[in-house]
Point group: C3
Chain length 357, copies 3
């Protein structure tokens, strides 16, 4: 029987603060999510990706998938979104990513859920916040891991004076190793891989370390678009949705989810990387500056490394730096002036893609 109002516990949560995180904590995040063709269409409408494998069941089947897989970044956003209410509701900043691996393709009808483990904490010297490191793991309905990644965020303390847990900083790899890249990619039937349909004649062997590619086109972002996307991922970070509350913040307006920028830049990168059909890993990434509605996103890529994959003759890996800017075309590949990022750079992402050989 329901109780009386005066006895009941408060029903809403203000989210965890820095002192609530202890290394070893395991968190089961809420709201499992069945991914469907509806999500695929929205993802296409929001970013405009044109990679043939994710766009066409017929193309995907011909080369060895059971059907077109869900875009790797859509998987990332859905897995990530679930962590927000538990990890970053009181975050000041999303500081970085590491050791992200896409371990199994996801298909329409699969249900994704996420758990996280706290793997490190480090209070800031000011004592009013601290860095929390978590490894988050996305699983499908068969409990198979589809994605695993580490991120760290700066989280406010509830009260500056409260003692925090003992500092512990995880040792994170600079990059995922080539021998770890192939797991999420089925054997590709190269004879069926049609370059004309894929939109690019450039295979893995055609790219060289140091090569820089301007992705040419610009994409302007509207409030409705990033809000639709971020809600689709069930990401509840209020900075993306509440214009009323945002008026009193540093920026005075809604911030766009950083993952939105990654997806836009990745979609733009089709022009120059049309055969880079699978994201195998995210080595690291930094949201250098915020993006706002009305800004236009441009992008360019640099080939950082090329890798043959052990035991795989079908695909090879390219380690890429993907740089996004706002309101600045990327013909001259803007990045840094000395140690400082150029004013217009908003994203510096280090990731691995697979291409057919």
């Amino acid at each position: 029987m329901p109780g009386s109002a005066s006895q009941t516990a408060p029903k809403t949560s203000a989210g965890r603060f820095f002192e609530d995180f202890q290394p070893g904590d395991a968190i089961v995040h809420a709201t499992p999510r069945t991914v469907t063709a509806g999500d695929v269409s929205l993802y296409t409408a929001i970013y405009g990706p044109r990679f043939a494998v994710q766009s066409s069941d017929a193309f995907a089947k011909a080369i060895g998938y059971p059907t077109a897989p869900i875009d790797d970044l859509l998987v990332f956003h859905i897995v990530f979104g679930k962590t927000v209410p538990d990890i970053s509701l009181n975050a000041v900043a999303n500081l970085g990513y590491a050791n992200g691996r896409f371990l199994k393709p996801v298909f329409p009808g699969d249900t994704l859920s996420t758990t996280s483990e706290v793997i490190g904490v480090k209070q800031t010297s000011a004592g009013d916040a601290g860095i929390v490191y978590v490894r988050s793991i996305g699983r499908n309905q068969r409990d198979e891991i589809v994605l695993s990644y580490v991120r760290w965020v700066l989280v406010r303390k509830r009260q500056p004076g409260t003692p925090a847990h003992a500092e512990q900083v995880p040792d994170l790899p600079k990059a995922v190793m080539p021998e770890e890249l192939a797991e999420g990619c089925p054997a590709i039937e190269l004879t069926a891989y049609d370059d004309a349909l894929a939109g690019s004649t450039f295979r893995w062997g055609d790219y060289a370390v140091g090569e820089r590619i301007d992705h040419v086109d610009g994409m302007t972002v509207e409030e409705a678009e990033h809000q639709l996307a971020t809600r689709l991922y069930q990401n509840t970070a209020k900075v993306h949705f509440d214009a009323h509350g945002a008026r009193d913040t540093r920026f005075g307006k809604r911030l766009i989810y950083g993952g939105h920028v990654i997806s836009l830049a990745r979609a733009l990168s089709f022009n120059g990387l049309g055969n880079a059909f699978h994201i195998a890993a995210i080595n690291g990434g930094r949201h250098v500056a915020p993006l706002f509605s009305g800004d236009t996103v441009f992008a360019w890529s640099e080939v950082l490394e090329t890798a043959e994959l052990p035991g795989r003759e079908d695909v090879g890996g390219l380690r890429l730096r993907l740089v996004a800017t706002k309101n600045r075309p990327c013909g001259d590949h803007p990045l840094k002036t000395g140690d400082q990022y150029a004013a217009d750079v908003i994203l510096d992402l280090d990731y691995w893609v697979l291409l057919p050989r």
Copy 2:
């Protein structure tokens, strides 16, 4: 054979006026609609609901549904949308709802259609308009009733002088009775209901009459968002879409569909009511003030009543008042000053939800 232009009947309808409605009239509304996973994704993108039952096929199956059901309010909007061209094209205002019951879950692939019966008319004293009461019924492709509700609207007369049908005002229940709440909810397998995945540890018994819950977050609405939603429901009320025509209206701009506010408030209410997975009934509701693009919606709830359901040990009912405001957080539960609604209140909804016990 087609005729000559001069003989043909006008092909467009200006909609029914008050004097066209007679108690007993039965109306078959146009455009049956198959609800799909695409609609579910859009609904998620537009409002950001996080109830596990509607989000995850795996979760829904575990507790006793054949697959994830369509959100009850999405069903409501689609059933409602069909009535607009026949009922409220010449409406001045949507005055109220009563006796709304969700009688059967709807699943992707089901086709919904709507019929209405005029159950009352009452001309205003000014004689230029009148209140029309209709019971609208939504059915699936097997002709099973999935939703039934009454609404009343103020409709203009074609000509002030025309005689109207004799006044008849239906006797409507203040609220749906507890024994009428369970029909749309299958038997729930409580042992499989996972609070961590559902996002709340608060079951039916943890809520008490009089308890008030601020849902904390705010959601700003954009023109593109409410237009996408309202078209998705095939609701044709021009006040939502025609900015050109709206310039000469009282507000000078497009009005947002009232149902949009209900869905936003319901999605926000997840924070505090995460286990309230099924809307069983709508007892009544009032759109207190209009919402416009750029406004930010907040919400809070009050527990009005708790009810055990006859013969059901799995779920219990909470009768809630759901209040939405614009541009005003709800920490102090704003509602009325004396008899007057507070200036920022836009919705006052009285409805029943079911929670696991």
Copy 3:
């Protein structure tokens, strides 16, 4: 093995210029696309069509389709979108359409791909651009032709001085013939065609040549809406997406994809043409003036011709002129003053629809 950066070919394409097109060229366009229920929902959300055949599996099955077919214009936009990177990236203007035929219904799950043949070229007298005529053909995964149409575009030359290929202008029919209209329409079971559910009591025989129908309602377009739509079609024309680059153009802002206007006008035309369930052919069309975000679209239709279809007692054809305007209701059927289009007219489309008899 990947090469060195200095050896590699540029990976992005600037698109074909006028001198690159030679009659007889066959082009395989990139990115096959599986059309799904998700696309249908987005199409509904973006334009608000209410034709029962495309909206309801139950209605479609009752009259002879295996399930609800994809809206003909959604098929058109997806087939068309693929041609943009190869045909019109350097286009100055999209000049016209001819001989468009919808030859087979498309259903969710079908995968569309497009090829084009250059069928004519004609350099302008100024010598800095030229008209390119292409026939584009959309096919499903069984290699069946679902759509075939001709369009011509004005394309810039890479360099004004370069010699172009010899002029060749195709002979294009003014209109598709009645005997060519039925191929994309299965036999319709008239006894099962329910006018009340379809939303109109007017069958083919109720329309007369010369009849003009104002479609009454207006629909205001937002940037987010046309961008979502145009990306959904994987149409990459940068004029629709890049507000930063658009600042230096003639209009100073983003242009809306012409096909967006066609779909809006077609959706509005439901009010007056509710039984015109299938677009059989596009005879010709002209985007008279550009549409921008914030504008409100209105539309009206004129019956140009009526046609019985050889061997078909179930359906008949109406050849319609569909005119769209911006910020101007169409009660007086605006079109031209002398030879000049009225200032507010933005679309003049000549097409065939089928209606039940």
